[in-house]
Amino acid sequence: MPTDVTPRRRATLRDRPPAALVPLAVVAVAFVVVPFVALLQRAPWTDLADLLTEPVVSDALRLSLVSAFAATSLSLLFGIPLAWVLARSRFPGRSLVRALVILPMVLPPVVGGAALLFAFGRRGLLGGPVYDGTSFLLPFSTWGVVVANTFVALPFLVVTVEAGLRSADRRYEDAAATLGAGRWTVFRRITLPMAAPSIGAGALLCWARALGEFGATVTFAGNLQGRTQTMPLAVFLALESDRGAAIALSLVLIAVSLVVLVPLRDRWLAV
């Protein structure tokens, strides 16, 4: 049992960064910010109000938010148990399982979407029998969007939560167990609260990834306004005909992300 693990944050909290790190950090920030500034510079500010009051925008925004939150909820429901299993239990093939779970992170999303279609499409591995029996079909439905989002976003939650569980001090769990708490009680009362920061961070990453999802969604769920057309799909198609509209839509997506990410990140990851 590791007994000499000191929480890292105590050691670094009051340290000022070494001078060499500062310019590199500035370069990193500029690298991310400059493209956004360029985007703002190209934005059609005078037509913005007209462009953004079109129903296609509100439909896409609503669908994006709903599907990103649904995908995050599903990822929490299934991802936390998976992260626990990967972090705490030992079984043959664990490394393989972990690699498989991370696969959607490295797979081009369009390939992921095609794989989902082969699995859950009308003639898919599972989708075929289900459709024949019940006429239920994931592609071309909002559920299809949620499934595509969950597929690409789940690894972000699992990886983050697993790292959090691994770095958590297990003595508290052991103490609870010796005091008679059952495994479920230990998980609920000790493990989950201790993993809360990593769960929060993982959920945010997961939500952000789902909100921007394009490739898997368009390949698996298709594109229909109000049913499967999320913001990234609307942006992509607007780009075909009207660059100004595409930039306006992107601005909405960026604004919504900032509104959610800035306050929540501070609350959940406060150190």
Binding site: L117, F118, G121, R122, R123, L137, P139, F140, V218, T219, G222, N223, L224, Q225, T228, Q229, L233, F236, L237, A238, E240, S241, R243
Partner: protein, 274 residues
């Protein structure tokens, strides 16, 4: 694609090897002077053409233009043709942003018109091919689709190209021509290839694509003709570009596409004559 990679290799070698430029690769200046002579008779040995040109062509021209480029190179041994395929709208954006292209072949008129308006075309665009629309269904036509009227059937899974891309615009025109006011569309695909893929896999019951796409997909799909009175013809215009570093060869390539030999190749891929 072996022909393309061979051309790439040739270009690389020209850059990398210190051979006399005119012998191995040709030089741009030579082509500029004498290109006009070869343009009218592309079948004849137009040995005064040389250099390399880059042709930007709509994705639906991939197979036909691959063959045309090979034929053009064979007829003009000093010339190499680089092909860049993509959505006509993306190619237009790239040209307007200053991409090094010598010829632009678009799948619709508006995209090339924007290039003309920006002053980037050398001369007027000419229509070199036409493409008809067809209904595409999975092999065996499991949903028994017979004509455009089936596109109003809620029970079927129907896909079109998105309105923003030419095949979507034309498909909607054809439906309107056939009197289908409210088609029961389940997805508006971003391009014709992804629509075709979903029909091919059986995830959609029917879609509207170009006849050339149906031919290219082979046995995996079936095409159902749309009557001429409802059908919409897509005109494919081509133009040499003002910024070409090799205008003689660029003009000659355009002429080759418009000549019988180019037209025959296009016809063998399902395109109609201009």
């Amino acid at each position: 694609m072996p022909p393309r990679s061979r051309r790439r290799l040739a270009v690389l070698l020209c850059v990398a090897l210190p051979l006399p430029a005119s012998a191995a690769c040709g030089d741009d200046d030579g082509g500029r002077g004498g290109g006009g002579g070869g343009a009218g008779s592309p079948g004849a040995a137009a040995s005064d053409l040389d250099g390399s040109i880059t042709v930007f062509a709509a994705a639906s021209l991939t197979d036909a233009f691959g063959e045309i480029a090979t034929g053009f190179e064979d007829a003009n041994p000093g010339v190499s043709v680089e092909l860049n395929f993509g959505a006509s709208s993306s190619l237009r954006e790239q040209i307007l942003a200053g991409a090094p292209a010598d010829v632009f072949a678009s799948a619709n008129i508006p995209n090339i018109d924007q290039v003309v308006e920006a002053g980037e075309a050398a001369g007027d665009p000419q229509v070199f091919a036409r493409n008809r629309l067809e209904i595409v269904v999975p092999a065996g036509n499991p949903a028994d689709v017979t004509d455009l009227a089936d596109f109003a059937d809620d029970e079927l899974l129907i896909g079109l190209c998105a309105e923003e891309v030419p095949c979507g615009e034309f498909g909607r025109q054809a439906l309107a021509n056939a009197g289908i006011r409210s088609p029961a569309i389940d997805t508006n695909e971003a391009d014709v290839r992804s629509l075709l893929t979903k029909v091919q896999s059986g995830d959609l019951d029917a879609g509207i694509v170009y006849r050339t796409d149906v031919l290219a997909a082979g046995d995996a799909v079936e095409g159902i003709e749309i009557p001429t009175e409802d059908n919409v013809m897509a005109d494919y215009p081509i133009a040499a570009l003002r910024a070409s570093g090799n205008p003689g060869t660029a003009d000659a390539f355009v002429a080759y596409v418009l000549a019988d030999v180019g037209q025959d190749i296009l016809e063998s891929h399902g395109f109609g004559p201009a």
